[in-house]
């Protein structure tokens, strides 16, 4: 029998028992629904992570720290030897944690490593406040601007290199700084205040005296106003002020003067020559690691972001697979019943000279078609549900314009094909039973 004839016959058989076919297919559709959503969410998460990384990290850059526990905390439970280069940072829990800091020598050393284009400290400093003549004071963070960020601007222009004491003001500060619109802010001056953190150890009363330690205000000229980005790591980065490295360092020096943290940096940003080429990037990564530093690349950052999502995905995937395995038994059952019901038809086909292999094939194809039908129903429902839910989910999770569920036709097609194959495997035993049916028994009339 020709393949096309077998397929047509299989289709006709499935159509002649529509309810049974649909019910069996629905069982498969349940698992497919879960799997399609999981795949969609996985795409969405990856896409989201990539967007974040693209907007916030230079792909040709490596983040380097001296402390091996900073990026991976596997050794944190073991006692650590004291090192005079330890600085301290405040962790989320509020406790002070000792970490090894990078010095200026380290930065120079990093710059000298072959393949490295430049190394500079990564500086984000907490300002005491941001203000402007006649306006209230607001807390703010000043970060170093890197040209790859290319934020969307509401007004102003960005030169290749920011001049000293110029800043990019985020949209969010416009009205509180008393500007009616973005254009009005260009060229105006705002004040960035920082406070020295040195503790006069000999005189505790001096510490309490505000006169000795009042915030120092620096004037910065606004050269551009950035639009609030659609994709952000956390809400607060939307309010970061950006200036060039030299200006940030100046303020940082003021803050850290006479403290242990003076010219000590937690993280350095190392730009790699041709770093977008992953092999060059990892080559530099190895060289830096050999010098005893801890390194994190963009890929690692992306992984960190997607890790949490992956766990949830794994769980949903397992449930989806369980549903599909359960539905496979449904296919086996349906096909067995079908073989029993069609005993005579099988006997007749055998009597008319249909080969065993063709009979087996007929039942395998019927099973496979049920699988494909279930796959199509399940993935179609998932796509409909996903498309309807996407705006709602993005809104609730604060993803901005990013979609949580992204469906790719290739992946879904592949999933449906795999389901067809799984169903064919499920149909193997019933098909075997049909093929080995004794035609004489099958045709016995009484």
């Amino acid at each position: 029998m020709k393949y096309s004839d077998i397929i047509r016959r299989a289709l006709r058989n499935l159509l002649s028992s529509k309810t049974r076919t649909l019910l069996t297919a629905f069982a498969i559709a349940v698992g497919t629904f879960a799997l399609t959503l999981t795949i969609g969410a996985s795409n969405g998460a990856q896409n989201y992570a990539q967007n974040i990384v693209k907007q916030n990290f230079d792909p040709s850059e490596l983040l380097v720290s001296k402390d091996t526990n900073l990026f991976s905390r596997q050794d944190a439970s073991k006692p650590q030897v004291y090192d005079p280069s330890f600085g301290s940072i405040t962790t989320f829990g509020g406790t002070q944690r000792q970490v090894k800091m990078l010095s200026d020598q380290d930065i120079t050393k990093l710059s000298g490593i072959s393949g490295v284009a430049s190394a500079q400290p990564s500086l984000n400093i907490s300002l005491s406040y941001l203000t402007r003549e006649g306006q209230s004071k607001y807390i703010a963070t000043l970060a170093t601007y890197n040209s790859y960020q290319s934020p969307e601007l509401l007004a102003g222009t960005l030169p290749n290199k920011l001049a000293d004491n110029t800043i990019i003001l985020p949209e969010g500060f416009l009205s509180v700084m008393g500007f009616s619109n973005a254009k009005a802010a260009i060229g105006k001056t705002v004040k960035l205040a920082v406070q020295n953190q040195a503790t006069p150890t000999s005189n505790i009363s001096a510490m309490k005296s505000p006169a000795n330690n009042s915030p120092h205000e620096y004037d910065f000229k606004i050269i551009a106003v950035s639009k609030t980005p659609n994709t952000v790591i956390s809400a607060e980065t939307a309010l970061y002020l950006y200036s060039n490295l030299h200006s940030v360092e100046t303020l940082n020096d003021y803050i850290t003067l006479n403290t242990k943290n003076y010219h000590q940096y937690l993280i350095a940003r190392v730009k790699v020559i041709d770093g977008t080429n992953t092999s060059k990037l990892s080559a530099a990564e190895v060289l830096i690691k050999n010098q005893g530093y801890s390194v994190q690349s963009v890929v690692d950052t992306e992984k960190t972001i997607t890790q949490f999502i992956s766990v949830i995905e794994g769980i949903v995937t397992i449930f989806g697979l369980i549903a599909i395995i359960a539905s496979v038994f449904g296919v086996v059952n349906t096909m067995y019943i079908s073989v029993l019901q069609r005993t005579r038809e099988i006997g007749l086909m055998k009597a008319l000279g249909m080969h065993r292999k063709d009979i087996s094939r007929l039942f395998r194809i019927e099973a496979g078609l049920i699988g494909i039908l279930g796959g199509i129903i399940g993935s179609a429902l998932a796509i409909i549900a996903g498309t309807l839910l996407n705006p709602f989910i993005s809104d609730k999770l604060g993803l901005g314009d990013s979609k949580l569920l992204i469906f790719k036709s290739g992946e879904i097609g592949l999933l449906i094909l795999v389901l067809g194959l799984v169903a064919i495997i499920a149909g193997l035993l019933p098909a075997r039973k049909a093929a080995h049916l004794d035609p004489i028994e099958a045709l016995r009339t009484e």
Binding site: L352, I440, L443
Partner: protein, 229 residues
């Protein structure tokens, strides 16, 4: 020419042995109408199954036009059945949910006949049994006699050399049954195929050229009427 040589079929083993057929020797000439008659359990169905290659004998052989069919591989017997033989059964065995056309083309699909040729052959076969206008009707809408005619159309569609009819009138009233028998006799003349009629009804055997009577697995008598076409 169908030659059956020293055919024996034994079911079961040792003490439980049951001889369904014992030392059957037969020669059936081409284009003849032969009836195999006997009570139930006489072995007539077993003989038909073995002659058509559906069952295997315990010993002995069946030669069709000089070829020992049990020397062939299973796939070849299947192909042989698909092109040279066909069947009409007591219970029709038509697919109720399929149309008459779809029922009739089954043997052609199995024999891998091209689609264009199928259409022509199926129409011819349905015309031959008087069901031409029912070509696109569902088999479930047919009466019993029409269903058996449909089964006959399916049996002749691939122009077989041998047509086995197993109690073809068993589920029909006598008037309809006679019509089916007349149809089969006409087809024998028109198409020139050998018809082997298996029945327990003596009336049906009256007009056959050769009547083989089986009893307890043995040939009791072979009666040749001599009317050869």
């Amino acid at each position: 020419m169908i030659e059956v040589l020293n055919l024996t079929k034994i079911y079961g083993k040792k003490e439980n042995q049951f001889k369904a057929l014992e030392k059957i020797d037969l020669k059936i000439p081409d284009n003849s109408i032969v009836s195999i008659i006997g009570k139930s359990g006489s072995g007539k169905s077993t003989l038909m199954h073995i002659m058509s290659g559906l069952d295997r004998p315990s010993s002995g052989s069946v030669h069709i036009n000089g070829t020992d069919i049990f020397e062939m591989k299973e796939k070849k017997i299947d192909a042989f059945r698909a092109s040279e033989m066909s069947f009409v059964f007591q219970s029709f065995f038509v697919e109720a949910n399929a149309t008459c056309y779809q029922n009739v083309v089954l043997p052609l699909e199995i024999a891998k006949v091209s689609r264009n040729k199928r259409k022509r052959l199926a129409t011819e076969a349905l015309e031959a049994v008087g069901l031409a206008e029912k070509i696109n009707s569902k088999a479930s809408t047919l009466s019993g006699g029409q269903k058996q005619r449909l089964a006959v159309a399916r049996a002749i569609v691939n122009k077989p050399k041998i047509l086995f009819a197993d109690e073809p009138t068993g589920n029909l009233d006598s008037v309809t049954g006679d019509k089916i028998m007349k149809l089969l006799f006409d087809l024998n003349k028109k198409l020139g195929c050998t018809i082997i009629l298996v029945t327990h009804d003596e009336d049906l055997t009256k007009h056959t050229q050769m009547r083989i009577t089986l009893k307890d697995g043995k040939i009791e008598s072979i009666h040749e009427s001599g009317i050869k076409s």
